[in-house]
Structure formats: structure tokens, C-alpha cells
């Protein structure tokens, strides 16, 4: 089983709507066969435009998109054989569930028996057997969503695009649908390109995530790498929670650097995007990597004043004033050892230089 690692290929794709602003800038992206890839980014970052170009509803201003090595820019959407799940489901309101699912099969001139079989299979896949004769308006949001997914998969497309498909659902339903879509992907092995602005959705479901901002892919990597090792300050800020220190590099060695912060104190950090002395930088540190009152020996040890305590049950979020940063967040596990967390107390905070990533100063 040799899988094509360039099943979908964006090659130097630019897109502009008005001839003045580039919505997508020089996009190069390879998507492997059977992969679940998520385009993640704030609204207006160009991720939906990329999806629309792949689906064929927008044409690239420059560059080419390849599907299984064939350029597809000149192929109209209905000949691309790409399934799509739309943001608002886009179920045909005047057709029953069965007719909705049969639509792509009927236009492909399948026989009545084949259609019945495929519709049956697709509906049981999303556990909606028995809903054939309902109208979409009679279904709940989650059920409509599942019908939309089934409809996009029923004609066995090579690629399925999903454009923020869970955006309209409530939180619980959204989470269970995330798993459901993930399982469907695992069981049938279709290539999925998923667009969302919800990072937890992206982290839960994807093999790889492409973080979009300002028309560019900021980082393309697996969810854990994206979270643990953001390559620039946008990604660090966008994915998960993040404590920032801005300062100037004073001393760089191979895997360590000294950063002089704006309030004058110095910390040790991991030089990711800095190379020489005097460079401006933003040091990023995940809240859970900073520990309080630890006995382990760590390179950075500072005292901070507790400004705010928010009880979350399993953990407590603490906002500290630390090294001039009034919004330094800590996540303290709920244990008997951490009982002295009170407003106004001074506590010791420590972290390793490896976890403090010195990134670009944006």
C-alpha cells in the first residue's frame, strides 16, 4: 500500500478578489492520501478561500492545484468528485434525507438498487438508519450535520472538504461529533480537509494542522508539535494558552540564550527564532510548564504576587504579576500541597529554559 504523499498539492497558489489585496499568498501545501488535515486560523486568514479553490468555487489567481497529480484549476466543481460538508449543512430542504443522499448517486446514474444500498450504508455509518423519509427541517442540528456528512461521503469521493461543519452545534454535541467524524475518517480512510477556527477541534481531530494567518501558512505540523513547539509567536499565541515576555537577547549559545526583559531582569530561554545578540524577542511559555514551590532544580526561579485566583475544580487558574507581566497565568493542580494560594501572597515560580521559547518579536 503505497500512499501518495502529494495527493492534493497546492503549488505556489495566490488568490486575490479585488486585485489589490492577496487573500492567499504563495501557498504551498501537500496533503497525503488518507490524511486528516485541518486548516486552522482566525477569520479572514484565507483558510476558507483555500477550501473553496480546492472545491472549485474559486479559481486561483496564480499557481496550480493538483489532485492526484492532475491540475484541476480548469475542471468545474461537479467534475472534481470532491465531497463537501458546508458550514450551514446546505441540505436540500425540499428533499427527504433519502433524496438528499441519493442526489449525488442519481446524477452519476447509479441503478436504483445500488443507490438504496449506498444510502443505507451511509446512513448507518452516521447512525441515522430509519430517518430516510424525514425532511431536513424535521431533524435536529446534530442530525442534519450527520446527514450532511453522509451525503458528502455517499458517492465515495477521494477527498472530503469540511467547512466549519460543527460551528452551529452546541458544545456537547460538537465534541461528540468531533469523535464521530474522526472515527468515520479512520474507518473509511478518506482524505479529509477540514477548516475551522476552533483550535480544540483541530487538535482533537487532525493528523496535521496548517495554521493560517494573513494568507499564509504559519506552521504545518502534527497537533502535539504545534502545541509544544510553535515556531513563531502567532502560533504560540493562537494555539493554547501562552505567557509572553518581551525583551532583548543578550547572550546566545547553542541551546540557550539570555533574554533581558523590559523590566531589567534576565531569564534563560530556548533560542528558536533568535540568532544574535541585541535581537528583540518574545519569549513564550505554556502555563502548565511553570511550576510553583517545586523542589526540582530549574534554571528560572522568580517570585510573583498573586493577583487573581479562579477555581476550576480539577485545577486552579492563578494570575500573577511576574517580571513585569501582569497577565502571567499558572495552572495549579488541585492538591493538598497547594493550599497557600491566596490573593496577594508571594509565591515561587520556576521553569526550565527549554520550555521558554524565544520567538520572533511580532
Amino acid at each position: 500500500m503505497s500512499k501518495n504523499s502529494e495527493f492534493v498539492k497546492f503549488d505556489k497558489v495566490d488568490k486575490s478578489y479585488d486585485g489589490k489585496v492577496l487573500v492567499v499568498k504563495d501557498l504551498n501545501l501537500d496533503i497525503a492520501e488518507g490524511e486528516f488535515i485541518t486548516m486552522l486560523g482566525p477569520s479572514g486568514s484565507g483558510k476558507t478561500t483555500c477550501l473553496m479553490m480546492l472545491a472549485g468555487f474559486e479559481t486561483p489567481t496564480n499557481g496550480e492545484i493538483y489532485l492526484d497529480k492532475n491540475p484541476i484549476s480548469n475542471i468545474p466543481p461537479h467534475k472534481r468528485g470532491i465531497g463537501m460538508v458546508f458550514q450551514n449543512y446546505a441540505l436540500f430542504p425540499h428533499m427527504t434525507v433519502y433524496e438528499n443522499l441519493a442526489f449525488p448517486l442519481r446524477v452519476r446514474k447509479f441503478s436504483k438498487d445500488d443507490i438504496d444500498k449506498k444510502v443505507d450504508k451511509a446512513l448507518s455509518m452516521v447512525s441515522l438508519s430509519g430517518f430516510e423519509n424525514r425532511m431536513p427541517g424535521q431533524l435536529s442540528g446534530g442530525q442534519q450535520q450527520r446527514v450532511a456528512v453522509a451525503r458528502a461521503l455517499v458517492f465515495d469521493p477521494a477527498v472530503v472538504l469540511m467547512d466549519e461543519p460543527l460551528g452551529a452545534l452546541d458544545k456537547n454535541l460538537r465534541e461528540s461529533m468531533q469523535y464521530e467524524i474522526k472515527h468515520i475518517h479512520e474507518s473509511i480512510g478518506v482524505t479529509v480537509v477540514y477548516v475551522t477556527h476552533d483550535q480544540s477541534e483541530a487538535l482533537t481531530m487532525s493528523n496535521r494542522i496548517a495554521v493560517f494567518n494573513d494568507g499564509k501558512v504559519q506552521q504545518l505540523s502534527s497537533p502535539d508539535k504545534l502545541y509544544e513547539e510553535p515556531v513563531n509567536s502567532f502560533v504560540a499565541e493562537f494555539i493554547g494558552e501562552n505567557n509572553r515576555f518581551s525583551g532583548q537577547v543578550t547572550d546566545v549559545s547553542k541551546d540557550k540564550c539570555k533574554v533581558k526583559l523590559d523590566d531589567g531582569s534576565e531569564i534563560l530561554a530556548n533560542p528558536i527564532a533568535v540568532k544574535s545578540n541585541g535581537e528583540k524577542t518574545i519569549v513564550s511559555l505554556r502555563p502548565e510548564r511553570a511550576l510553583i514551590n517545586t523542589k526540582d532544580k530549574m534554571e528560572n526561579n522568580f517570585k510573583g504576587k498573586i493577583e487573581e485566583v479562579i477555581y476550576h475544580g480539577d485545577h486552579t487558574r492563578v494570575r500573577l504579576n511576574l517580571l513585569g507581566n501582569k497577565d502571567f497565568i499558572l495552572k495549579v493542580p488541585n492538591s493538598s500541597a497547594n493550599m497557600d494560594i491566596k490573593l496577594g501572597n508571594q509565591i515561587n515560580v520556576s521553569w526550565n529554559s527549554f520550555d521558554a521559547r524565544a520567538l520572533d518579536p511580532k
Binding site: A55, G56, F57, P76, P77, H78, K79, R80, G81, I82, G83, M84, F86, Q87, N88, A90, L91, F92, P93, H94, F103, P104, V107, R108, R151, A152, F155, L161
Partner: protein, 417 residues
């Protein structure tokens, strides 16, 4: 059952239903008072006139009341031969009274509707009556004019005896009750109403079709263009609404007449020669063109409001699922616009079926519709009961169409906005 045996009580012990009624009573009165003016307005301007129209179309008491003695005397007459002296005497007395009261003109008009030629012999009778001697009125009246000796005229008189009649409705479909009481068609050369009814239906039907064909693309464009352009287009669609109907019709007269702009243009591009300019006005063509243009917004607006609600992602979904643009349109977009099509067609058809000014101005002889005939009877012949009868037939027709539409498409599926 349980509600009777075990009434639910409020905490104060009053039955819940009563308490609820009391609580809602005030609101109900308020609501009623609020709609009261409109309700009165509707009753005065709508229910009452239509009721009056219905009444007028069957009411025939005028003649009955004017000739009470005659009809009393006629009760014994079998209508086969000329009536006897008693009837003639009664008629003479009734008519004399009418002449003294100077209301005989109405009788003449009414009887003339029933049978042509009545008016002149009544007038002649009035002149000669002054010299009548007492007794033997039959002889004297028959001497006034030979038609007075014609049994047909007396039968016509007797036919007007009942207080209510459906004769006007028969007349509206070119039929009448003949001397033997049978309902038959009028002679072929006088069947004008049937032609008018059919023409009205035909014009309304084709105007609806033309409007639909023209409005569908316009409405789609309106619904899909960016705001900047769609607003402009919307103004173009609505502009005719803000112009007087008369002005618009008159401008069509300028455009369509034989020496008009359209004909000049045809001649200029060599489509027709100067001496054979086609007649595009004072016939059906003129009626079609002007009515289609005038009624177009009534089709565009319901279509637009429905199309506006159709998400563009539906068409995209249709295409991404493998449908060609045509299939996506035909299977997905078009069925969703049916409520708008229904509303627009019904609206245009109903408006077209009763259209008056435009056919009157540009229709000529072959382009007039039933409403022009109604107006003619209202204004020229003053046969209001006939006009009412035709008006009601028109109204019934519209209601029938509405009913059929409801059966076929369902009124709930209509969307005006």
C-alpha cells in the same frame, strides 16, 4: 373526562379556566378595540359593497314595484295569447301613475333591457294616453302601436314579475331564458360576452407567462448581485411602481403607435418597409406588451423575496455533489423558488384578469377585456345590475382559481416576502 370530574383550581380556589379567562379578557378587549377601526373600514368598504353588488345583480323589484296592479292582474294570464282587458286596464292605470310621477323613464329603460323596442312604444303610449277614453283599454292601447298587440312584449313584461332574477347572469354568458322558460344561447352573432371572457382568460394567462419568463432572470440577478448593483437594479424594477399607471400606458401609446418610436426603429434598421408598418397598438399585441410591463414588478418582487432566502451554498452543494450547473439549478434551485412562482403568478393573473385602464387605452376593439365591458355597462348603458352580475362572475372566477391553486400547490406555500 378528568377535567370534568376534577377541575384544576388556582391557589385562591377559583377554577383555573375561569381565572385564565378573566386574566385574558382585558387583553382580548384591547386587541379587539385595536382592530376595530380596520374591521369597520373593511366592512364599510368591502363587505358592504360586495353584498350590495350581489343583491343588485339579482334584485328585480324595481319593475315589480312600479307595476303592482298589472302583475296582480297577470297572475291569471297563462301567457299563451294576448292578455285580457283586465291586464290592459291595470297596466294603463299603473303606467298613468308613473307618468304623473314622471318615473316612467326607468321602467322604459328596464323593459328595454328585457326586450328591444319597448322604450319607443312606451313613449308613444305616453303621448297618446292623454286622449284615452274610459273603458276598453285593450283596444286603445293596441291601436297606439302594433307591437302592443304582439304577445311577445307582454310575455317580456311578465318575465319581469318575480322580485329576484338570475337573468343577468345568463346574459353574462350569452344565454337567456326564452319564451318557453328554457335557457338557450343567444344567436351566434350576438355572443360577445363569451368572446370577452375567453379573451380575458387568454390575455391574463399569457401575460402571466410573459411576466414569469421575464421576471425569473431579473429576480435571480437581483438576489445574487452584490448590494451595490442590486440596489440599482431594484430601483429600475420599482421605478414603474412610482409612475402613474396612466402615464405608463400613455408612454406605451407613444412607443407602439404606427408612427411611433418602435416602428421608426424597425423601419430604420430595415426590418419593415415604411409603408407596411405593423400595427402594435389598438389590438391584442398592445394589450400584451403594456400589461406585461406594468405587471412585471408584481412577479419580480415575490420571486426576489423567495430567492433571497435561498442560500448560495445549496447550489454549491448541488455542484460539489456532481450535478451539472443545469441539474443543480433544476433539481435544487428551481423547486425552492416554487412558492415565489406561485405567489407571483397568482398575483399577476388575478390582477390581469380584472385589468381595465390599459386595455381600455391601448386595447382597441380586439384588445378589450371583460372589465371594459363591465365599465361600459356601468357608465354608458347604466345597466348596473348586469355590471354587478359580471363583476360577481369575475370575482367568483378569481376565487375558483384561488381554490384550484390551493388544491394544486397549497396556499401555505405562497411566499410574498
Amino acid at each position: 373526562m378528568s377535567s370534568e370530574t376534577q377541575k384544576i383550581l388556582t391557589t385562591d380556589g377559583i377554577p383555573l379556566e375561569e381565572s385564565l379567562k378573566k386574566a385574558e379578557k382585558k387583553n382580548k378587549i384591547k386587541a379587539f378595540l385595536l382592530v376595530c377601526p380596520l374591521l369597520l373600514f373593511l366592512i364599510i368598504t368591502y363587505v358592504f359593497p360586495i353584498g350590495d353588488m350581489l343583491y343588485r345583480s339579482v334584485d328585480d323589484r324595481m319593475v315589480t314595484d312600479m307595476l303592482p296592479k298589472t302583475y296582480k292582474a297577470m297572475k291569471q294570464w297563462d301567457g299563451k295569447e294576448l292578455p285580457d282587458e283586465k291586464v290592459f286596464e291595470a297596466f294603463y292605470l299603473d303606467y298613468k301613475k308613473l307618468v304623473e310621477e314622471k318615473t316612467f323613464g326607468k321602467l322604459a329603460t328596464q323593459l328595454n333591457f328585457e326586450k328591444n323596442g319597448f322604450k319607443s312604444i312606451l313613449k308613444k303610449l305616453k303621448r297618446k294616453m292623454k286622449k284615452f277614453e274610459e273603458g276598453n283599454y285593450k283596444e286603445q292601447i293596441m291601436n297606439v302601436h302594433k307591437r302592443w298587440a304582439d304577445v311577445e312584449y307582454w310575455r317580456a313584461l311578465k318575465r319581469r314579475a318575480p322580485s329576484y332574477t338570475y337573468a343577468k347572469y345568463l346574459k353574462g354568458v350569452d344565454m337567456y331564458e326564452n319564451e318557453d322558460g328554457k335557457i338557450v344561447q343567444v344567436p351566434e352573432d350576438r355572443r360577445i360576452h363569451k368572446i370577452l371572457w375567453l379573451r380575458t382568460l387568454e390575455v391574463a394567462f399569457f401575460v402571466t407567462i410573459f411576466c414569469f419568463l421575464m421576471a425569473y432572470p431579473i429576480a435571480h440577478l437581483l438576489a445574487t448581485l452584490p448590494m451595490k448593483y442590486s440596489n440599482l437594479l431594484m430601483i429600475c424594477v420599482l421605478l414603474p411602481f412610482w409612475t402613474s399607471l396612466l402615464v405608463r400606458t400613455a408612454s406605451w401609446m407613444i412607443l407602439l403607435q404606427q408612427q411611433g418610436i418602435v416602428n421608426d426603429f424597425f423601419v430604420m434598421i430595415g426590418l419593415v418597409s415604411d409603408d407596411s408598418r405593423p400595427e402594435m397598438m389598438y389590438n391584442k399585441t398592445g394589450t400584451y406588451v403594456a400589461m406585461t410591463q406594468i405587471l412585471l414588478p408584481f412577479m419580480v418582487l415575490p420571486l426576489y423575496s423567495v430567492m433571497k432566502t435561498i442560500s448560495p451554498s445549496l447550489m454549491r452543494a448541488g455542484k460539489s455533489l456532481g450535478g451539472t450547473p443545469f441539474i443543480a439549478f433544476w433539481k435544487v434551485y428551481f423547486p425552492l423558488t416554487i412558492p415565489g412562482i406561485g405567489a407571483g403568478c397568482l398575483l399577476v393573473f388575478i390582477l390581469a384578469i380584472g385589468y381595465y385602464i390599459t386595455p381600455a387605452l391601448v386595447g382597441g376593439a380586439s384588445g378589450t377585456l371583460i372589465s371594459n365591458q363591465i365599465a361600459f355597462h356601468m357608465k354608458s348603458t347604466l345597466d348596473w345590475s348586469f355590471a354587478s352580475a359580471m363583476g360577481l362572475m369575475l370575482l367568483t372566477g378569481v376565487l375558483a382559481i384561488y381554490w384550484v391553486y390551493n388544491k394544486l400547490v397549497g396556499v401555505d406555500n405562497i411566499k410574498l416576502g
